[in-house]
Symmetry: C2
């Protein structure tokens, strides 16, 4: 059973970023109340979050070692086990992801792109070669790819994902605005900008009518 | 009180996309069991979701009107009230968002970009002019901007958001990997790619070790 909630998993990269800033400023220890204060979380939540991923307890008067917290978080988040990935679909969003330098710090190495457009195949984006999507299986095999980042249009996403899984991909990071069906042994995570925008529009509508209620 | 859960709000754009596909195929009515089947949701969930946003009940033998569902969903999601937005920070991600044609169908009109880099100010991306971030207040006023899309680096995001709110922005769509502090009357929604990737890495790790458990 998975004891981590999605909200909790989403907090860890924020903690990590903060601890790295502290380390750069030469700060060696940090207490849970200070962390809680920085993020507006409760002290209990911060303590629970950090206990779940770190074996080394803080000392009552000094707090926790910043360096140890960074090691524990990076290990837990998988940033120390690099996964290699391809971007399938090199439209505007796919290009942006291929150009993103920060992913390598997060344990994700994007090694290539795939597209069906002959004018794109053979070119490079962000220094990575764009291959013909017809050769997906060969590329997955020869470059030992574990993750596929899906940035194709919604209407072809399921077909592309099916082929990627047949080719040996083990995880899907889906940016296409559609809910994909994958076998239970495949890890999938969706980034749905349309849904996120819908949530924002709803909040904005509420904020606008707040003084009427 | 808000009676919509975040998960529920995230399902509505998926329903809408499906209903539009049905409409294009000339299908006029749809039943809850068929919708449930399409997405792998329970019939109860689909019924509850649709009742919450539509006053027109389905007929027992025919199902619901696809056209009416589209109108109700678009109204609920705010796609019929266009909000104007600026993209602050025109790096790779900001550029991709400026180039994204699909947002206009979702009630979001991106009208301009902002940057501090003199080599970008005065140029256009996706047909939209890039203004100097120093002139944020003037741009918000003269173009009647409601939403700011934040694609600046994490370390300057809070400062940029503070200025945007002072300038009269009412909603924030935040792509910077940092938790921002905003007053309660400001709508905010975060798209945190680092967090999403952490969730995926965690699932991938579980999937890999599943046969050991």
């Amino acid at each position: 059973m998975d004891k981590f909630s999605k909200n909790q998993l989403e907090r860890y990269p924020l903690y990590l970023k903060y601890f790295k800033e502290l380390e750069e400023s030469g700060i060696e220890t940090i207490s849970s109340p200070k962390i809680a204060d920085r993020f507006g979380y409760s002290q209990e939540q911060v303590r629970k979050d950090l206990q779940a991923i770190s074996d080394s307890p803080g000392k009552p008067k000094c707090g926790r070692s910043v360096q140890q917290l960074i090691v524990d978080l990076e290990t837990f988040l998988g940033y120390r086990n690099v996964a290699s990935a391809i971007v399938i679909g090199t439209g505007h969003l796919g290009e942006a992801l291929l150009n993103f330098p920060a992913f390598s710090d997060m344990g994700l190495e994007i090694v290539a792109g795939m597209d069906s457009d002959p004018s794109k195949v053979g070119s490079t984006v962000g220094g990575k070669e764009i291959y013909d999507i017809k050769n997906l299986k060969d590329v997955v095999d020869s470059l030992s790819i574990q993750l596929a980042i899906i940035t194709v249009p919604a209407e072809v996403a399921q077909r592309v994902v099916d082929i990627a899984i047949e080719s040996g991909i083990r995880g899907i990071w889906n940016f296409a605005p559609v809910s994909l069906i994958v076998p239970p042994h495949i890890a999938i995570e969706n980034v749905n900008l349309a849904s996120s925008l819908a949530v924002l529009a709803h909040k904005l509508g509420k904020a606008t009518t707040a003084d009427i209620d």
